[in-house]
């Protein structure tokens, strides 16, 4: 532990953020279940939040972003909740119309 992470820096947080972000993207890309896609989005936003917080943290860097680094994640979280609500409503609507939540079935707009 000491050898590996002698000193936690912003970069370490960024790596975690990156992993979460990519996992989210992959979720969106591979899940056929609409709710799975939603969860992918949640993960993705979460990864972004980690980056913000890391940049804002005075503990990690003296010249940190400051309070913005915490306020923006707050907005992100709130808006994510809103987005989840709407998306769920849409998913439910889709389920009402198609009796499934398989996003691959939602291709009426296919070219």
């Amino acid at each position: 532990m000491c050898g590996l992470l002698a000193q936690i820096t912003v970069s370490h947080y960024l790596v975690v953020g990156a992993v979460l972000f990519v996992t989210g993207v992959l979720c969106m890309a591979t899940k056929r279940n609409a709710l799975g896609v939603l969860m992918g989005i949640e993960l993705l936003l979460n990864g972004a939040n980690v980056n913000f917080v890391a940049f804002g943290s005075k503990l990690l860097r003296a010249d940190a972003l400051g309070l913005d680094g915490q306020l923006i994640p707050l907005f992100v979280i709130v808006l994510a909740a809103a987005e989840a609500a709407v998306a769920l409503a849409i998913a439910l609507n889709f389920y009402n119309n198609h009796t499934t939540v398989d996003v691959d079935k939602a291709e009426e707009l296919k070219g």
Binding site: I8, T9, H12, V19, G36, G66, L67, Q70, A80
Partner: protein, 213 residues
């Protein structure tokens, strides 16, 4: 005792939470059962909240626990109600998509990590030696920021006493706060309207359009 002297709890907890977050995120990715996905997602988000605590953003961390995890709770309920049926429990993508996405995602991850360690200023540690596990006193400051006062940007005099007026550039987040709250209200109303059981398809699509537009 030397081992204790060498132990850095901050690093330890960071590592712990980071591994939990990433591991459960991966579990979300590789599970096809929707409810388990939600379960892992919750754990991942919780671990992230722990990371926020470590980074000194307590308020954000608690928000994360309360809202995100609450939202995921609702997700879970919906998941159970909609798709806890056998055909939906196994909506699996085709292997090829797995491979393509894994390759693309892997490349993206590689790039992101490379750039994360690319900037010296991020790579170099804060000069304050090993990081404290201490909490940062941010709750009030965040609240003030939301009500429009950037207490971290008060322009102070030499003695550290804040001067009477704030620079206008730091006028805080009052307006976004209001906008977001109104937006949230609208969204919730719209979602409720949208999600109510429909009889005919047409009305459903119309309402979808109306809310999205």
């Amino acid at each position: 005792m030397t081992i204790w002297a060498a132990t850095d709890w901050y690093a330890f907890f960071f590592l712990l939470f980071a591994l939990l977050a990433c591991g459960f995120a991966a579990a979300v990715l590789f599970t096809s059962n929707i409810v388990r996905m939600a379960f892992y997602l919750t754990l991942s988000l919780g671990a992230t909240a722990g990371l926020f605590f470590l980074a000194g953003a307590e308020f954000v961390g608690v928000m994360q626990l309360m809202i995100y995890v609450g939202g995921t709770l609702v997700l879970l309920v919906f998941g159970v109600m909609l798709t806890a049926r056998a055909p939906f429990l196994s909506l699996r993508p085709r292997s090829g998509e797995w491979i393509v996405s894994l390759i693309a995602g892997g490349t993206l991850l590689f790039l992101l990590i490379a750039s994360a360690f690319g900037v010296r200023n991020w790579r170099t540690a804060s000069d304050s030696g090993p990081l404290p596990l201490a909490e940062a006193q941010t709750a009030t400051a965040v609240g003030a920021g939301l009500t429009g006062v950037r207490v971290d940007r008060l322009n102070r005099d030499a003695a550290g006493h804040a001067l009477s007026q704030l620079p206008h550039t730091d006028s805080g987040y009052l307006l976004p706060f209001v906008i977001v709250s109104v937006h949230l209200l609208v969204v919730l109303v719209g979602a409720a309207y949208l999600a109510r059981a429909k009889v005919r398809r047409r009305s459903a699509t119309e309402s979808t359009a109306s809310v999205e537009g």
